[in-house]
């Protein structure tokens, strides 16, 4: 059993025990993610390494367990396991200026940390770094990489183009693994997505109340929820989040007792262990009430229409593609809807997405009266982390608020 396989097996078992003691939304969520992660080693499933935004529902309906590399990078960092992988990737010549989510993965693949995946599927957004990392992983494993090119505009032509690519992706998966698409399973995945979406929308709506029934880390990294890909478990997780926060709201139980400040977190969280959130909560009663990446930006899918078209429509609506105004408008909307007093932008090193737009975040949110602090932190590579310096920025920001 490889180190990673053991990790997922142990995590699943430990979480199962905890869940038996008491079910919380967060526990159930992590448990399901661990279960999905474990599929990487289960021969009943074909395994795919992907980048973050690919249609996991299609993979799921083809019996493919997808894991996006940024998630694996985050997970390794969260467990303090990344350092040797960075060193390996850097020894190969990868620049320390590149996104560390990707650098970890290249190192991990080089070290033989993972079983050889059956498939590699990348998407042209949110960043080209992911595509390049996947291409390198493809070289390491001698596997072809299938790339989805998501068009910039939301037009009928773009939709058509993306659907064609989905079909090509399906053909590629069949060619590589012999697995075919189960149309019923796909329809069910789309249906599940709709049901889950509604629960999440309502759960997030509850968090618009002050105080929020959730605290900063309840929604941490919720983006990895996409890995559930329309599985029945996706509905369960969403429902439990909704129920938990509804219960807390109805009984006046705040996520963070004494909540005073409400924060919007832009893009991704800091993945390795650190004290910033604890400090925000304890010393300033500041609660991260919404993470940009958790926001539900798409409309419910039409279950009577072609599921591929519906999934493509969702993908085209993603705020991280197209003109940056799309993202800015949404950030402003979130800050207003959630009654945020301030926004934290980690401005992750090596990320052109967030680095390039940082001043626009500041200007846009200023229009809503919401100041932004840029942390300039590497969210994954803790070798670059100086907690004292970051705390000074964050504390000064809170003093300013």
């Amino acid at each position: 059993m490889s180190m990673l396989e053991k990790y997922f097996a142990d995590l699943e078992a430990a979480l199962k025990n905890k869940l038996d003691e008491k079910t919380t939304a967060r526990r159930r969520f992590i448990y399901e993610i661990a279960r999905i992660g474990g599929r990487m080693f289960d021969r009943e499933w074909a395994s795919a390494w992907t980048t973050v935004f690919v249609p996991f529902e299609i993979l799921y309906a083809m019996g493919v367990a997808g894991n996006f590399i940024e998630f694996v990078g985050a997970m390794l960092a969260g467990n303090g396991m990344s350092r040797p992988f960075f060193e390996k990737a850097e020894a190969e010549g990868f620049s320390t200026d590149s996104c560390s989510y990707h650098r970890t993965i290249i190192g991990a693949a080089r070290q033989g940390m993972f079983p050889k995946p059956d498939l590699l599927i990348g998407s042209s957004f949110p960043c080209d770094g992911g595509v390049k990392a996947l291409l390198r992983v493809g070289e390491i494993y001698d596997k072809p990489v299938f790339l989805l090119h998501t068009p910039y505009e939301q037009t009928p032509e773009s939709l058509d183009y993306l659907v064609k690519q989905y079909r090509a992706m399906i053909a590629h998966i069949t060619e590589q693994t012999g697995r075919t698409l189960d149309p019923d399973k796909l329809r069910r995945a789309v249906h599940n997505n709709n049901v889950a979406r509604e629960h999440i929308v309502q759960a997030l709506d509850l968090c618009k109340n002050a105080p929020s029934p959730a605290r900063s880390d309840d929604w941490k990294n919720f983006i990895i929820y996409v890995l559930l890909g329309g599985d029945d478990a996706a509905v369960d997780v969403a429902r439990i989040f909704h129920e938990e926060f509804r219960h807390k709201h109805e009984h006046g139980i705040p996520g963070l007792p004494g909540e005073k400040y409400r924060l919007l977190w832009i893009q991704n969280r800091i993945q390795f262990k650190n004290n910033l959130i604890r400090k925000l909560e304890e010393d300033y009663k500041a609660n991260v009430v919404i993470d940009e990446l958790n926001y539900i930006f798409w409309e419910p899918m039409d279950e009577s229409a072609d599921p591929l078209e519906e999934l493509a429509r969702r993908q085209l609506a993603h705020p991280l593609i197209g003109p940056v105004e799309r993202r800015l408008d949404l950030l402003k909307k979130m800050a207003v809807e959630f009654g945020c007093h301030g926004a934290v932008n980690p401005s992750h090193w090596g990320c052109r997405q967030s680095g390039g737009a940082r001043n626009m975040f500041k200007e846009t949110l200023a229009q809503a009266g919401v100041p932004v602090i840029h942390l300039d932190v590497d969210c994954v590579d803790e070798r670059n982390f100086s907690e004292g310096q970051l705390l000074t920025r964050l504390e000064a920001f809170m003093e300013m608020l």
Binding site: D376, T392, R393, M400
Partner: protein
Amino acid sequence: MHYAGIDIGSLSADTVIVDEQGKMVAYSILPTGANSMVSGEKCFNETLEKAGLAKQDIAYIVATGYGRISVPFADKAITEITCHGRGAYALFPNTRTIIDIGGQDSKVIKLENGGKVIDFAMNDKCAAGTGRFLEVMARAMEVKLQDMGPLSFQAKNKIEISSMCTVFAESEVISLVAQAQPKEDIIAGIHAAICSRVGGMIDRVGLVPEVTMTGGVAKNTGMVASLEKRTGVKINIPEEPQIAGALGAALIARERAQQEKE
């Protein structure tokens, strides 16, 4: 009653004591050394002695600076951003922008009318644009830190220092010295390099006059002149720019103590 502010920076520990009216009665500056906890306490005791006061005469203590958490006897720790803002505002009430170049980091702070911090930018993780950068370059040229300012005014042809990184800039400066380039010209180039780094932060925050400079580097007249040229405005320099943070901390201590009484 009296109130104290203790600012533990990377290079110096500064203490200011103010009275009920917020008037400074004494201050001390000591090198931080290896143990910031010891130097903080030593500096505080020295200031008490200068003021002719005892510990029990101090009603409230605010610690600031990177070593703010190593002052166990402080009532509250507040960041140097807020404290420099408060200190500079007390010294020059029309201050809207503060440029603080300290030993380990540099920052630009924007104040609104009334002295409240409304924005700031910080340069850290890297010594470029800080007092440390200046110190390393002074050493490379075997020039005393306090002579850098006056010497820079004698420059005839400022030499461009192309590296921002302290390590690379140091070797660049050493090569220039080896080429027998006039020290004055090199120093003017060094000031310009820091100025360009800090200038980026000023632009990010947006310069609003009046501008006040705090931190040890404000004592370097050449650096100040360089920044004035870059910004096009006259910069206020406190008599003792190093204690602005400690002064702000002491004034906040006074306000806090009064708030708590109410």
